[in-house]
């Protein structure tokens, strides 16, 4: 019975995030969904460049991936029902993402209250030892 619920939830999260126009335009895709934890990634694209001298993609694109991934993690929490919205999100850009590499994000909803989901996330490229960026934010629950 529990497994059926998990599968239904996974399907709901997948369906919700498959149709977001901005996520589609950035080429985002879901890598995995677990209880309160989601992996998402996005391909490198020259149209996303933020600094022409280094060819590094713009922070805003990384922010968008982290925001989406965090929202999905909040939605995939076992006690969360329905969609969610970002209250606030902070991103630390720890190093430039290596040009031409895919960016992966892993988000965890580590606490869920009646009104707020607390989520943190990490963004990685091929060098998984050193994160590209980290995010922490609060999301609305039960919208």
């Amino acid at each position: 019975m529990k497994n059926i619920m998990i599968e239904k939830k996974k399907k709901a999260v997948e369906d919700f995030f498959a149709v977001l126009p901005h996520s589609i335009s950035l080429g985002m895709g879901i890598d995995f969904i677990r209880d309160g934890e989601v992996g998402m990634s996005m391909p490198y694209d020259s149209k996303l460049i933020g600094d022409p001298q280094t060819k590094v993609i713009h922070g805003g694109a990384v922010f968008a991936l982290l925001d989406t991934c965090c929202g999905a993690a909040a939605m995939s929490h076992p006690e969360q029902t329905g969609p969610t919205a970002t209250i606030d999100l902070r991103v630390d850009y720890m190093r430039p993402a290596t040009p031409s590499q895919r960016i992966k994000a892993i988000a965890t909803c580590y606490n869920l209250t009646k009104n707020v989901a607390f989520v943190r996330a990490v963004a990685l490229d091929n060098n998984e030892e050193k994160p590209v960026a980290m995010a922490a934010g609060a999301f609305v629950t039960g919208v």
């Binding site: 126009p21 589609i24 149209k47």
Partner: protein, 168 residues
């Protein structure tokens, strides 16, 4: 002694606009999102004209948090760079028509950016203005406010810290 006549306004405007275009055209992500800028003197307003690809939740519909954050971060970077190149633009020794580049600059790098989503972004044009609260030799702190129809009803605000390029 003969008094120098002031520089013609058209020439000043041309140089300022060319400097701003040079800054904007250097960042592909700005054209990806479709961000435009309106300049009045040294004041810059960033404009995000609505388009379908900016939508997050299509059932509401509302702008994606990521497109709002990127819009704010772009406004902050351009606002900060603009204050950094202003003295170059205003230097009367510079001749606007003489070369392809009006100004020389290196973009600041974002250390962190924090976004406060105050209300959902409606499917219409958005505006943002950045305020450089501090720009030191190495670090800068910038605050950005964004609104849609009503200047007093912000729908998002952001604060970011930036690493300033080393001056050559």
């Amino acid at each position: 002694m003969e008094k120098l006549s002031p520089e013609p306004v058209a020439l000043i405007k041309k140089r300022r606009n060319e400097a701003l275009s040079q800054l904007i055209d250097s960042i592909p992500y700005i054209s990806f999102l479709g961000v435009d800028f309106d300049r009045r003197g040294d004041e810059i307003t960033a404009i995000l004209p609505f388009k379908e690809e900016l939508i997050g939740n299509p059932s509401l519909p509302a702008l994606h948090g990521g497109s709002i954050a990127a819009f704010l971060e772009i406004s902050a970077i351009i606002g900060l760079s603009w204050t950094q190149i202003w003295h170059q633009i205003e230097d009367p020794g510079l001749d606007a028509g003489s070369s392809d580049n009006v100004v020389k600059f290196t973009l600041p790098k974002t250390i962190d950016f924090s976004v406060d989503y105050l209300r959902s972004g409606l499917p219409r044009d958005s505006y943002a203005r950045a305020k450089v609260n501090r720009a030191g030799r190495r670090y800068a702190s910038v605050h950005v406010e964004a609104w849609q129809d009503n200047r007093d009803r912000l729908f998002a605000q952001g604060t970011g810290h930036f690493l300033m390029p080393l001056n050559k």
